[in-house]
Symmetry: C2
Amino acid sequence: MSRLGEFEFIKRLLSPLTRGAPGAYNLSDDAATLAPSHGFELVVTKDAVIEGVHFLASDPPDLIARKALRVNLSDLAAKGAKPVGFFMALMIPEQIDDTWLTLFAAGLGQDIDAFGCPLLGGDTTRTPGPLAISITAMGEVKTGHMTRRNGAMAGDALCVSGTIGDGALGLDVVRGAHGHLVSEHKQFLIDRYRLPQPRLELGQAEVGCDSACIDISDGLCADVGHICEQSGVAAIIESSQIPLSRAGGAVLAQAPSALARILTGGDDYELAFSVPPANVAAAIAHGLKVCVRVTPIGRFTSGQGLTVLDGAGHPVKLSALGFQHR
Amino acid sequence: MSRLGEFEFIKRLLSPLTRGAPGAYNLSDDAATLAPSHGFELVVTKDAVIEGVHFLASDPPDLIARKALRVNLSDLAAKGAKPVGFFMALMIPEQIDDTWLTLFAAGLGQDIDAFGCPLLGGDTTRTPGPLAISITAMGEVKTGHMTRRNGAMAGDALCVSGTIGDGALGLDVVRGAHGHLVSEHKQFLIDRYRLPQPRLELGQAEVGCDSACIDISDGLCADVGHICEQSGVAAIIESSQIPLSRAGGAVLAQAPSALARILTGGDDYELAFSVPPANVAAAIAHGLKVCVRVTPIGRFTSGQGLTVLDGAGHPVKLSALGFQHR
């Protein structure tokens, strides 16, 4: 950022991203002010992404920006929150130039508008290390109505949004795997890896209908495991019911071993949620209303731990999936 | 963090740092909930610190933690806000071990209690780069009463808290400079560099008395310049009036050239604020009440830019101070 400099970068590229939000003061002060709407409380989440860990240095700058924001919006989606705005600490290595920063800001602006979530403040600093982006995103829910991880009950159905496994398979494609796929499928999976779809409308639509919710970032098994642990229940996943994209289905048809990746790979940013039996039809209908498929893939039971069943209803050894229960 | 692992680190060392704050859910959920007190709004600030930029790898872990929090609390102090809690993204390199993490969490806990500012949420992740800590701190002010940067008027006095220059001189001592100083002074300056004192009580006490405020992180000249720019005024600093610690005075007595460092060095985390003439006595009295010295060191005038006067009242060339006005 040799030519632009920190202060010009903030003034020219970042302050327009506040979109005039009054409490952001055009990024001209030390801090922002913020209050939830009357009867609402703020939902706050914070996820950092780092070059070489969460994205590749070669990824397009606009997509890096958008993914950094979207992984945070995905947490808000799981909690049933409506986005309010976000704060960003941007740690910039020396080799980043003005073109990169301009594309980065443009990508961010695109998603700020798409999700109604302006930049409210933050910090930019040089780093001798890899590029890192730490975002704190804020949404709001009616006071006391955040969808928690701890509300699943034995007997509830386990539902997921969209299709599962695409994110991890997309990363594999970026790394050169699945060479047999048609290019359309390859591109679909890469897009799913690079640009997750935070299920904000669905998350809000399911408030009061679902009993617990999480977004799938660590992997389907791990994240359903988090609900189990916090809710004090066990879960059964019927692997044959897991919704796959056509591209994901094509991978699995060629390599049945890809099931492990689909179950545990992570980076899906779909929602996994528990739904009382009487609400399952409504949960699916809510999905239709916002154009997101909702699929029941199993159920919660008393006890603890996670069981994955194969197509014949037999338990799959979790260790064979490379899944370590904590 | 090989032995402890991410989830155990969060459970054993971080979740106690929530100090039971209800909206933190013991760090067991994707997000926290938060609302300002009735009649108040949140003040949000975000500052990241990075190894090799803001602290040294050899610095004690507890002090790294405390400084990371304190630089954010210092922003809240400048805005007249009372701390509510904070969110932390911790980017941890491979070589960090459990002992380091334990000391880090202990230091953080000490300041959480000292400043009444619990951990509310965040994120821990591995990094191939240097240790980085991104904190988002939240405080609250009466709605509409955040002390801004843009309220200084021509005729207002320029006041500062505490003593100026110690932070930058302390960093110089760490780097081996000022070998002539007695060890007591060396240690004092190092402590000032490593452990800034966020002037929270003073910032709150001056609300309504000061017209603009900033914390001195970039350096006295730069930060007073920020007030000037946002307020549309000029400022005159009488360098002979700048309050120095005994250690700072000892450095200056030996090396008059240290004045430039004192004026521009940064890392003071004292407050610089504008005070209408009729309020100056009250501003000093507020300082006495919270045991922090408040010193008028100049004044704001119409026009723009910053003038520094020497002891004889002659303007000092700012370029000679290594200060670049933007």
